[in-house]
Amino acid sequence: MSAAAPSGLRRFLVALLIVYVAKQLVVAFVSPPFTGHDEVAHFAVIRIVATEHRIPMLWTDTLPADLYQYRAYSIEWRNRDNSPLYTAVHPPLYYILMAPVYAAASRLSPEGIQYVLRCASIPCGVALIVLAFLLTTTLFPRDAFLGVTVPTAVAFQPQISYEAAMVNNDALATALYTGILLLMVLTIRDGATIRRAALLGVAAGVALLAKGTTVIALVLIPLALLAGQRGRRWRSAAIQTAVAYAAAMAIIGPWWWFMTRAYGDPMALTAIAATQTDLTRDDTTFLQLLFSGRFLVDRWTETWGEFGWRLIHISGALLALLGVVTAASIAALVAVAMAERRAVASYGWRVPALALLAAACALGYLSTVQFGVRFVLTQARYFFPMAAAAALLLMLGLRAWIPGRWHSIGQAVVVFAAIAVNVAIYTAYVIPYWYFR
């Protein structure tokens, strides 16, 4: 953080991180065992890695029979003993990181181990907030409004923080992807070099080892390297892109080779379709889903609610209010970009950097649409890696609505709103659903 950073911003970030960790512990303990998205299945993979020291296989490993009582929180667990362990096709990084935690807690019951593993996910959320903060202060080092509101929006976004309190690889993938976005912004600001390209490739390779949803980074890397050229140097950008891809492939290549040999393609999509026959589809096209209001509303609903494997539905009025605020922020962002082109041009390197973040958001949604063409169970979680980019752009749009001298009050109101949304969701829906009979 530069010397010109707003006074009190660092203190706010420290307080935010402390509150975040405490809030995450509350979420981890208030959610009954194995009720998170695919938690039973992720837990089973960690158990196999920790106890049998091997990667599970979709064709031979099954969902854990001893945890059959939690079948309501997994996909198609009809037969107790031989339902495929569908998370076996996920990349191994998260499970390898969690295996020592499992081993350390192995004397506890499965439920007890699961709570320990949930707590072990919290550092991924902390990393995400710090990276969102660095992304914001790199782009707008003297802007107090964005410095306060962007990390707050990420920390209090109910579903993104929920994932960072569950046994799940989403939070790790989101944090790593945000790190890649930060590296890309720094590359655009400081200029692209072979070394930075290699670093981007390494970061992308590591993120791909966490979850396949980060594959969009490979599309963004050439754009970032091109934007980071001083002058139009296509050849240099092409060489740097090749270096970045080579670095990425050196890391993810062996896993993709293994997946292709085992399942036919690097992401095992064909194998997933073969084992989840009831959840595949061929009745829609990419364009139909892209312009489908129902599809958009479903993803929006999942972005804020649908806790406990789509069991807990939050109020339509709250979702609509959040939708209106988001739409107003996007509209302001677009209107300012169009009406004040001269002022926007004075942003210099920030313009391509912000365009890159916008592209990350657009690609995140488009890839979720593409997945939905084949699989019924496409989910908002697949575009969560873009959380920090989306928060930054939305807060930039929201800031445009607020007169300059009201920014400090506006940032406090945003913090209040973020807290209030969480209080309302957990008090009115999540806790009553689990504990009131």
Binding site: P6, S7, G8, L9, F12, A15, L16, I18, V19, A22, K23, L25, V26, F29, V30, L108, E111, G112, Y115, R142, A144, F145, G147, V148, T152, A331, A332, A335, V336, A339, E340, R399, A400, W401, P403, G404, R405, H407, S408, I409, Q411, A412, V413, V414, V415, F416, I419, A420, V423, A424, T427, A428, Y429, I431, P432, Y433, W434, Y435, F436, R437
Partner: protein, 127 residues
């Protein structure tokens, strides 16, 4: 561009400070009312709807966690975390209101409103 210095700047600075403290105080009271006094329309898993206060809802969760936790320490961690979360949220409101200075942008209006006016004017001119 000019800026006020010395004693002439003091009233404006004091006014900005008052505004920030006022906002933080108002938001603190609002959050306190939401947590302490407001009734939430709670929805149970069987669809039963009842209006309850936040503390009464949280108390039920705490009792379940105390009873069902695999280890007694889990309840203690939960209780401390909940207390830190609630207290920390109030602190965050105050800290958020005090970050940065308003001086640089003190006279700026809403960029979005100006932009929409600009777009609307350009559209009208084209007609």
């Amino acid at each position: 561009m000019s800026s006020r210095i010395g004693t002439s700047a003091e009233p404006a600075r004091a006014s900005r400070l008052t505004r920030r403290i006022g906002a933080a105080l108002a938001l603190t009271m609002l959050l306190a009312a939401m947590i302490g006094a407001a009734g939430f329309r709670t929805v149970a898993s069987d669809g039963t709807v009842r209006v309850r206060s936040a503390p009464s809802v949280w108390k039920v969760a705490a009792e379940h966690i105390r009873r069902d936790a695999p280890r007694p320490a889990m309840y203690a961690v939960y209780a401390v975390s909940l207390a830190v979360t609630v207290a920390g949220c109030f602190l965050l409101l105050w800290l958020a209101a005090t970050v940065g200075r308003d001086d640089d942008a003190a006279r700026a209006g809403s960029a979005a409103v100006a932009a929409f006016r600009g777009v609307a004017a350009a559209t009208a001119w084209r007609r």
